[in-house]
Symmetry: C2
Subunit: 355 residues, 2 copies
Amino acid sequence: MAINTENVSVEISKTSKIDSVDFSNLNFGREFTDHMFVCDFVDGEWQTPKVMPYQAMSYEPSARVFHYGQAVFEGMKAYKDDNGKVFLFRPKQNFDRINKSAQRLAMPAFPENYFFEGLETLLKLDNEWIKPGMGNSLYLRPFIIATEPAISASPANTYRFMIICSPAKAYYNAPVRVLVAEEYSRSADGGVGFAKAAGNYAAQFYPTSLAQEKGFQQVIWTDASTHTYLEEAGTMNVFFRINDTLITAPTSDRILDGVTRKSIVQLAEDLGIKCEVRKIKVDEIKTAAKDGSLKEIFGAGTAAVISPISAFEHKNELFDIPVSEDSYAKLFKQTLLNIQHNVSEDKHGWRYEVK
Amino acid sequence: MAINTENVSVEISKTSKIDSVDFSNLNFGREFTDHMFVCDFVDGEWQTPKVMPYQAMSYEPSARVFHYGQAVFEGMKAYKDDNGKVFLFRPKQNFDRINKSAQRLAMPAFPENYFFEGLETLLKLDNEWIKPGMGNSLYLRPFIIATEPAISASPANTYRFMIICSPAKAYYNAPVRVLVAEEYSRSADGGVGFAKAAGNYAAQFYPTSLAQEKGFQQVIWTDASTHTYLEEAGTMNVFFRINDTLITAPTSDRILDGVTRKSIVQLAEDLGIKCEVRKIKVDEIKTAAKDGSLKEIFGAGTAAVISPISAFEHKNELFDIPVSEDSYAKLFKQTLLNIQHNVSEDKHGWRYEVK
Ligand SMILES: Cc1ncc(COP(=O)(O)O)c(C=O)c1O
Ligand SMILES: Cc1ncc(COP(=O)(O)O)c(C=O)c1O
């Protein structure tokens, strides 16, 4: 294990929590590895990044993140193959996206070399936390928060960039039932929906809890202006299969440009499956559900990978989606996992080996 | 000074920072008093609240507020009259609103007795920080943050409610120039715009910085669907005066129900000024600016009190608003300050004395 400390200062943890973790029984996002990456933005510059023991840190009560939600994040995963090699999946996409999110939230861009050295240093130190085997992964959470201790409603002058790592199994297991949004919205035209802005997520909790009371695990959001077009779920883009054609909504300033989504669009092309990227009316899907041409709906995102949707409700009409024999969801999930875990060819160069 | 510690545990600061503060030269929200109020929500209950020395506190990097913006806040002020009596202004409005915000963000409601005892205990301990004199005040910032150390995208199980206090002069001094939003939006129908949700504010920073580059201090937001109706500014509701009639937009799920706004609507009635609460087209205001019937625009909010707007731009057309001789902005500001500082009669019972 060669730790490249060209730019990153490293303090190794004296103890490890790894033996206290039950890897066969993980709750998403509750257990964290022994180390974390921290880099502060002060005086107009990102300071020397550090990898250090995972720990709580001290913040002023006036830190701007607590008041104005000036915070963005990413979600990515590291995978280990059966030979112990470690891979990331299209990490440059996440790097580009966190800076796109940061720009929209008036935060400074994070340097690419720090991002990758930070990630790689962490993954080497916490290598034991990445378990081989399909479905196992180490979830990586880069995030940036505004730390300046002053509550004027304006962009902060100081920030903290961190990466924390949490061992993960597949996020959702059972097929999910979803409610199509009729009244609540996730984001506005001209808003921050395309960014992984912290505030986008808390805004969904209450409408999602109402859906859960009705027996649905997730909400599929529709456009805020008319609630007639299907957009995305809380942490997943959504694909609809009508007969043998896949359809997914185009990205916009309301919709997150998901890495899983764009990978599926590419894989569909590779596999000769027709995939349309276009606006989708709720009514089109309801009609297709009624006439039997709606074969599948599934969500796609880093945490969930592919999450089949077994039923949806809209305007008090419930539609069950029969289990498909030749499921695209299954096919894409397997194809993606095989690439991610270094089992199949990687013809688009999506794997990024951590050496 | 009687400190009522029925429910609140009190730890008094051994030292005071007050002598290091230049009260004649305050930057909004940078200096904080000697004490703060803290109450944690654990195991489904708000625990014993504490007033303690103002200090930084430790948070896990996985604390949900850092990732999902699950945070809400309030802004209110304490005023001291020339006899040393201390008053809040309609504090029950802020109490009700923080719980309305909390509900929309799937957070637990905070108890009324804790809120008021916390506020009063703080104001007694930090009494010296409240300076008499028109325009002086102690800005109070209650806020609730999600503290649970787990990054699943769902409501937290633990929260922290705090109040911090910052001595303030009037927020804006000079009249402001504003840009009317044409592309960016503050909030969506069915979204969280009516709540003082942390994420609403960071979302405005970037569009506001673009406006600032063009020489405008603030943005007046329009409806996200059509950008044809005027809504509110970043931290102020907005009033337009056409001839002798005031107009302000109705509250909705996109617009904050401001305490200052509703007080002005009432004061207008008291003063015999016609005030219409109705939707306002950008075009209506542009036409009125052109034909000379637009006499004033001003913002209204706790921090700024009343902030006159001297110019606005929309679609590259700039409109200067001539200074009004019999300014309503001035009249309402004086009327409000007189009530807040116990100078004039309080016929609606808006003052709340802290005894
Ligand atoms: C709102 C939203 N949509 C979609 C996704 C899926 O994006 P990705 O495939 O890059 O994980 C995410 C993130 O996980 C998300 O937060
Ligand atoms: C978005 C927004 N609009 C308006 C206001 C004015 O509300 P209030 O008069 O209650 O301070 C505020 C808060 O200060 C605000 O944050």
